[in-house]
Amino acid sequence: MDAYREAQRLYAEAMLSHASGRELIAELERALQRIGELLPQAAPDQRSAVLLMNSSIAERLAGLAEESR
């Protein structure tokens, strides 16, 4: 499995999650972490795509943090 495809799968799986509250935050953080671990294995021309997938997850996390305030 190449790292880019695996990162895409993890990204979509996290975004499809129907968890809520802390469980959702934990799931998104796990996906972010795992995608980050795949970064060194990704082909150089795919690394920016992998980092931007994580940006999308991080943006969602920031939105959830804002909602919970």
Partner: protein
């Protein structure tokens, strides 16, 4: 994981560079950024984030440091440095484009929920397209160095391909060209983008014949295909066995059928109002009849049938029919890993996104998505994806 790094103050090279990228991106986009000028370092394996309060984060390790050499006058770059700077620029431009989107209020009726699959698909597709198109020009305007921009793997191949094709194919329906429709999307708050497309098509095609009190119902008949078409592609993006090039093709094909459903629903709406106006000039028309709304549901199922026959069910099942369909799947014998994966993804998508599982504003109190309403006639027992 969501904590901010140290603030990057104005007057530093890093702040100046990000400011320049955002300013150039805003110039090309023709709309302002909502960035408030506050910039923080982004820790971890993340390019950067546009935060809800208008501030931004940017990765020193993955963006700022690799970019710096290419934007420092007089430097001679190695090919690796040139390549790294190009990727860093693309990421900064992607983030700059995201900073231009208004979020909107997703608690109002008919709004697209922020974070819904269709919202994520459309927003990321537009940022993907923008960064692919403008990163090279933005880099050229900021440095003498020739960076090897272009040819990057798209971040979201299926979303981007589908959105791009829809911008072309919805031209007749909306009376707008690709770029105009793109501008309409980008200048509308994320929660109202699908409604804006529907409104544009309704106004262009039927205009003054529609009473405002009918608009919400008509929007649903048009936003439904768009939402399902784009949101359903999340399953394609999720596939382990699909090559990014094939994801692009699935996105492209999905947009074709999304456009078919959108424009035929629009044609039916148009006929309803025009025929009423021809027969009863000056009289307020009735809402769409049940028979027409039933036809919209038939069409939704027909489109799913098309996908089933292609071997890839990119769309969610029609409300009310999904349980029996997905419960049957595990009993089947799959001839290969591809078939198995499709079945697994179908079950996963249904278990997470079926109308009965959702509690957002796109679903009414009866558990139906807001593009589906109970209507008087009985369902045909022999329809649906088999």
């Amino acid at each position: 994981m969501t904590e901010l790094g140290p603030e990057i103050p104005p007057g530093t090279w890093e702040h100046d560079w990000v400011s320049s990228v955002v300013a150039k991106a805003a110039e090309y986009a023709g709309r302002p950024s909502r960035w408030n000028g506050k910039l923080y370092e982004q820790p971890g394996p993340v390019a950067g984030v546009c935060l809800p309060d208008g501030s931004m984060t940017i990765s020193r390790e993955h963006v700022l440091d690799p970019a710096r050499a290419a934007y420092t006058p007089g430097r001679t770059l190695t090919s690796d440095e040139r390549f790294a700077a190009a990727r860093a620029t693309t990421m900064a431009v992607f983030n700059a484009r995201l900073s231009m989107s208004e979020v909107g209020d997703d608690s109002v009726p008919g709004a697209t929920p922020i974070g819904s699959l269709e919202d994520i698909a459309l927003e990321n597709a537009r940022a993907d397209q923008f960064s692919q198109e403008y990163s090279g020009r933005i880099a050229e305007s900021m440095t003498e160095q020739s960076l090897s921009l272009g040819g990057d793997a798209p971040v979201f191949p299926a979303y981007s391909a589908a959105t791009d094709r829809l911008l072309y194919t919805l031209g007749d329906a909306t009376g707008m060209g690709h770029d105009q429709l793109g501008d309409l999307i980008d200048s509308t708050a994320r929660t109202q983008r699908f409604n804006a497309i529907a409104d544009q098509a309704l106004d262009h095609q039927v205009g003054e014949l529609i009473p405002e009190s009918h608009r919400a119902q008509l929007r649903e008949a048009l936003t439904g295909p768009l939402r399902r078409g784009l949101g359903g592609l999340t399953m394609t993006e999720m596939s382990e066995l699909t090559h990014p090039g094939s994801k692009h093709k699935w996105g492209w094909d999905s947009a074709e059928w999304t456009e078919v459903e959108f424009t035929t629903n629009l044609d039916d709406i148009k006929k309803h109002y025009e025929s009423w106006d021809a027969e009863h000039p000056g009289e307020e028309p009735p809402e769409l009849p049940d028979s027409l709304r039933e036809r919209f549901l038939d069409r939704e199922e027909e489109i799913q049938q098309v996908w089933a026959s292609k071997g890839w069910p990119a769309q969610q099942p029609v409300a009310g029919r999904e349980q029996e369909y997905y419960e049957r799947l595990p009993e089947q014998v799959y001839p290969n890993a591809r078939e198995q994966e499709i079945a697994r993804l179908q079950q996963f998508l249904w278990s997470h996104t079926a109308p009965s599982k959702r509690n957002d504003s796109a679903v009414d109190t009866g558990g139906r998505p807001d593009n589906v309403r109970h209507i008087g006639s009985a369902r045909k027992p022999d329809r649906g994806v088999e």
